[in-house]
Symmetry: C2
């Protein structure tokens, strides 16, 4: 255990916990955050070898002067599914950032609680013997560096370090975070749209102000719920009801059930962008359309928005209740679309200018999920 | 004077020397290297303020364990002519690189002996009280990081640091130099095609192996020759003859005299690329065409090459003998095209694969200037 931490309440993850977190975080990823499969394989290998185990601490266990660093895979999820990465890459980025700022990290944290990017930091932390903080900077996944509660709360992404699989390294110090994102994006494009990132150096004191708390615990709970839903007679009903009653998240709404009848995807400006359309399964009613940029950003029915970023648009398999990330949407799939309310951090005017629909080039003003989903 | 240097033969530049070097290096720049005008203004200001003066040392004065760093403006000459930069920017890049490698530079050196990129390091060195080494990595200008005698001799460009005018900084460690160039290029594109670079950290021992020697002395001599040619009855004849007889460069050939009848330029992939055509002034004979990518790369007459990179294709004003860089070529100008032989470093098979015509996408095999210019 590193200095500056209260170890009394550290929580050691079992391999079952890790599997549940992977599933739950893939739901929270709202289509993005990357595939957790490779991290899951690496975790199984680590646990079978009997080596290090991943240790989670709560925000309150961080000393105010502890150094917390954020690690993540950075790129386009479609590409990162094919170009594998491993803890050694992110450790290289982490060491480069530590050397640059002249201080060792006391704990790591996830930038986003989404699929691979929830697990990857857990593994990296275990690999280098550091605890991982229970929380993240989004409570979901978003595609860009300025779109974190860290950034919105005043913790800069820079200096940050990025590494590719050849261990080419870029350390960047650019402000504000939208410029940092621009440098990170072109670097990740040059790295082939799959890179490892260490960023957002912050003190324990700052972390307590800006981190969205307990989202790993939430992912674990959601993973358990999805696992139970699989066995239920009506998986989606079970899922929605259980999220409402058992998970500490404020809202869950079943928005649409349908069959994929069209998918368009493209890799543009360093992102996996596109849309897909769902025809209703049970009626001759209107179809739905979902736009994405790494993550699902807008659900519209009859060209009227029913859910908009920053609220979470989560797509699950209609039969298994398993979350379906954007790269996995295929023609003919039967899917259900759920809405989960985003963290309150993202509902201020300033935050909505960074993570609201117009920040993604969509021509809608944000309205809360509860309002849009009730509108007829 | 920094440690590790023999100061006995240091040479202090007068403002006249600096003006001559600017002119001579613009000729050696073969169209590129950037406009020296801003650096010249800054040098005049520095000298009028009575502050630091620029000090040149020869390669042999470097201790073997001295740290030599290379500084340069990096971008597209067309843009760098408009977006001004100043010593503070390159000092920021220099300090970032020094901090990254944990060692202070003992001397600076130019990457290329071309226009602004010959003077900019002189000014930066004076600004931070370091001597500048008499030599460079090209004996001319080239557009890419792997195209130096440093790189060809085994001194890597990375780690390197880049800064823009907002002092956003990128430190990159990528190998080989062609990959380092790719990262530097996208970074400079994100910086708006005008950036300051500190690169190629090398020991004095390595410098003695890979530096093209005494090219600042050569620039000074060429500047003096151009200054005299301006006054001569036949400026171009004077220029060519004086280079042949007075300058320590092996060959100078007058290749073509003509009037610009067409110019095409474009900013592509982070470079100023294009071509122009010359109609002969004195006859109804064939016209000539010059291709460029930051620098002049090929002169053809009747589609037959008369001079090819890495040999220097130098374009001068027919009346003043002043060198004309690629961004300054305009319809209607009367120009003379000279060829100067490149340094022997660039004539090996390996070097030609890096700086020969095909490395720039031209469909010619390199032949030496002497051979091509004699061919009828």
């Amino acid at each position: 255990m590193a200095q500056g931490l209260d170890a009394t309440a550290a929580w050691t993850l079992s391999i079952d916990d890790i599997e549940r977190i992977a599933t739950g975080a893939t739901l929270l990823g709202a289509g993005g955050g990357g595939d957790p499969y490779i991290s899951l394989l690496a975790a199984r290998q680590m646990y079978e070898a009997g080596g290090r185990k991943a240790t989670v601490i709560s925000l309150d266990q961080l000393a105010d002067d502890a150094l917390v660093l954020c690690v993540a895979g950075f790129g386009a999820p479609t590409v990162m599914k094919e170009r594998l990465f491993e803890p050694a890459h992110v450790l290289h980025a982490l060491r480069a950032l530590e050397t640059h700022i002249g201080q060792k990290a006391d704990a790591l944290i996830a930038a986003e609680m989404g699929g691979g990017n929830a697990l990857y930091p857990v593994l990296a932390a275990a690999e280098c013997g550091l605890p991982i903080v229970d929380g993240d900077g989004m409570g979901r996944a978003f595609p860009e560096l300025q779109m974190t509660s860290f950034s919105i709360g005043g913790v800069a992404a820079a200096p940050f370090a990025m590494t590719d699989e050849h261990l080419n390294t870029v350390i960047c110090n650019a402000k504000p975070d939208k410029r940092a994102e621009a440098f990170a994006r072109i670097t990740c494009m040059e790295m082939g749209l799959s890179s490892s990132l260490a960023a957002y150096p912050m003190t324990g004191e700052a972390a307590k102000r800006v981190v969205i708390r307990d989202t790993m615990t939430l992912s674990l709970k959601l993973g358990q719920i999805i696992s139970a839903a699989r066995q239920a007679a009506s998986p989606i009903d079970h899922l929605v009801n259980a999220i409402r009653t058992e998970a500490p998240t404020s809202e869950a709404v079943r928005l649409f059930d349908g069959k994929v009848v069209d998918v368009y995807r493209s890799t543009e400006r360093g992102f996996a962008v596109g849309w897909f359309e769902l025809a209703p399964v049970s009626s001759n009613g209107s179809g739905a359309r979902i736009e994405f940029q790494n993550e699902y950003l807008a659900l519209t029915v009859d060209q009227r928005p029913r859910a908009l970023a920053p609220d979470l648009i989560c797509v699950v398999d209609a039969e298994t209740a398993e979350p379906v990330p954007t790269p996995d949407v295929r023609f003919g799939q039967r899917l259900s679309v759920l809405g989960l309310a985003c963290d309150q951090t993202f509902k201020t005017e300033h935050a909505l200018s960074v993570v609201g629909p117009r920040a993604f080039g969509l021509h809608y003003d944000y309205k809360p999920l509860a309002e849009l989903s009730r509108a007829k």
